[in-house]
Symmetry: C2
Subunit: 403 residues, 2 copies
């Protein structure tokens, strides 16, 4: 293939925001500035929606200080979109690219974004317009294939772990049943992170429910009952995509008039319905008086001032890597391979094919889930601990010996 073209670049952020998607953006910008082949670095305002409407900001002129503030900011600084472009949509984008001599396309997002990069690249090839299309992984759900884990997960995992550490202490202080609904439509990685701050034998969460392990309401209630009888309290972390025994999500069963997003997904976040449903089940069936439920909602993906240091560093490196790859290759998705664990934790970045990531999702592997399907294994702890970073220490005195 020909050498890297002298042309302009565009970068966009797609899908749900995360706590470090802006670090990946800054990684793309700082690496792009090092390569004379790349001239103007356009930021697409609201992702593909801005590309097709020719709405861009110039990212090459931001000060180093501004870039650092961007990298530390939650959410998607360029705005985002849930549009899922087809070939026609991509042809309209390419018209804009031709007009502006854009030949580098960097798209930070989930599996839909990898697919967009793939379609755009294919349509460009068909039109004999050479573009280099790269996907940078991003998701709090951690559900992309190939990569060991996704930028965005570690920071969301840190939020969830700190939330459950506090919530478990709250539940010790005022005992009862507490249900926390956590993001995760198809994958339970983020819900599993609820255990990362556990240090005492009886620390919660005591039960976890994942999309990967359908559970009947009867099994759920009997497990809650057993913990409550033993500890006089029970803290439960539930994925928003938790399923009934027949594999259907509880959320879908509850929400008769569920709103759907343009990808055909049912709205699971931004409503307290699942939490309130489960709380009512526990209260009514188990006759437990104090039952509370929280839905963590958007806080777990966009909270100012809370990032995992490892996650933000890796997100930035993934952004840089996409630009480096674009100097030598036509397209691809950036992925991470773990090179060590524990104190030797580290990752190497590598290129994978867009089609390996596009339109596919990963579930929690079986070795991360306990036999009952309501907890995690040591293998998960070793996988996730380095990603969330060191967690705060806590004390609880009421369990000290009585005098």
């Amino acid at each position: 293939m020909a050498g890297a073209p002298k042309a302009n670049a565009v970068v966009g952020q797609s899908g749900g925001p995360t706590g470090v998607i802006n670090a990946s953006l800054v990684g793309v910008i700082e690496e792009a500035k090092k390569h004379p082949e790349i001239q103007t670095i356009y930021g697409a305002v609201h992702a593909v929606a801005g590309m097709v409407k020719d709405q861009f900001v110039d990212l090459g002129k931001l000060s180093a200080e501004t870039l650092e503030t961007v990298a530390a900011s939650p959410s998607s600084a360029l705005g985002t979109s849930r549009d899922k472009p087809d070939a026609d949509y991509c042809r309209r984008i390419l018209e804009v690219f031709k007009k502006r001599n854009i030949r580098y396309f960097f798209y930070i997002g989930g599996n839909d974004s990898a697919n967009t990069a793939h379609i755009l690249n294919t349509v460009a090839d068909e039109g004999n317009f050479d573009i280099r299309a790269f996907h940078v992984p991003k998701t709090v759900d951690n559900d992309l294939l190939v990569t060991d884990h996704c930028p965005g997960y570690g920071t969301a995992a840190r939020f969830v772990a700190c939330a459950l550490m506090g919530d478990d202490l709250d539940n010790r202080a005022l005992p009862g049943v507490k249900i926390d609904v956590i993001m995760g439509r198809h994958a339970g990685f983020l819900t599993a992170a609820a255990v990362l701050g556990k240090t005492r034998d009886d620390d919660g969460p005591h039960l976890l429910y994942f999309p990967e392990r359908p559970v009947s309401i009867g099994k759920f209630l009997s497990e809650v009952d057993a913990v409550y009888k033993k500890l006089n309290r029970c803290v439960i972390a539930v994925s928003e995509g938790m399923c009934d025994a027949d594999g259907e999500t509880w959320a879908k069963k509850i929400a008769q008039n569920a709103e759907k997003d343009p990808h055909g997904n049912i709205q699971l976040s931004g409503t307290g319905a699942l939490a309130d449903f489960l709380a009512a089940q526990v209260k009514n069936s188990l006759k437990i008086k104090r039952v509370r439920a929280d839905t963590f909602g958007y806080l777990q993906r966009s909270f100012a001032g809370l990032q995992s240091a490892v996650d933000v560093d890796e997100a930035r490196r993934c952004g840089c890597e996409a630009v480096k790859l674009a100097m030598v290759d036509d397209n691809g998705s950036v992925a991470m391979k773990r090179t060590g664990n524990g104190k030797n934790y580290g990752v190497e970045l590598f290129r994978t094919e867009l089609k390996n990531v596009a339109e596919k999702t990963k579930s929690m592997p079986a070795e991360f889930l306990n036999n009952d399907g309501n907890g995690v294994t040591q293998a998960f702890m070793e996988y996730a601990m380095p990603l969330a970073g060191q967690l705060p220490k806590t004390e609880y005195l009421a369990s000290y010996p009585k005098v």
Copy 2:
């Protein structure tokens, strides 16, 4: 009155946990250790419930390192209780006190706790048993009388401010209407803190609703509509105690089978009902497609690793001050007076009568609320900014000039 007795002391934590109630506990412990009049320092397990059941831990032997970890931990490290003792209950507590020679009583909590200290002190006087009863203020609602503000508020305010900073950036990236329900049964101080991170002209939250300003659903909807038409998005912070025009809480109207706590309060936290109700109103009446609602719930009072430095320092000082006061006085409540603002921010501690704090609550003063009742004034900003501490900086690039 006689000099401070040589006797044992008890400390308890009452009511809802906060992010710094443990710092007040540590303040009591570290100051008590300095005074030879105080012998054993008992921690009451689950507050008055532990006192009446003779359940105590010995707090005098904790290492300095453990005490620092306690001070940094959210929730109530001794456990808490919502019991509201009457004179009979207090007489039973005093039987335990006599047996253990406890003559110092330190109770960290809200206005109910000040009342408990008052009743206990009165009943002890009637029985000619000299105890010294002190209240240390605590509440995330910031609704105690006399004191300039309450320990616990600054940390919760910091959480809410960081949450809204992130959530506003999320709403910019994916525009729509976002409703956030925030703790505050009778006082809107914590909801008002949602604005503390605003720096850009069009930053959200754009509308705030407080218990102090009843609002009809019609007025609420027309205000949301106006913001949405102007900005194509709207972020709203709502107190859980938000009232209809007739002064009744929306929560009460919604929850026909509302659970009541032992104080006769309706359960407002731990349910997403108000948020979902308001979201449905906006969606159905204004025909806005993307409407989301989150209820922050217990995260805002018990989240590991997030404290306001000013708040944690003041909470600890208030704990110390109660012990100092007990060396020279019979009873009282610790209060704070602001000695300067902005860069000169500081507080002096002083004693006030228990009855000045007991069973009363403070609302937001009129000068903190704007004329429409849906926002705050500069006076509130100056009041609350020092309490939450310095907030993270953020950037949003999509609003930069297009090229």
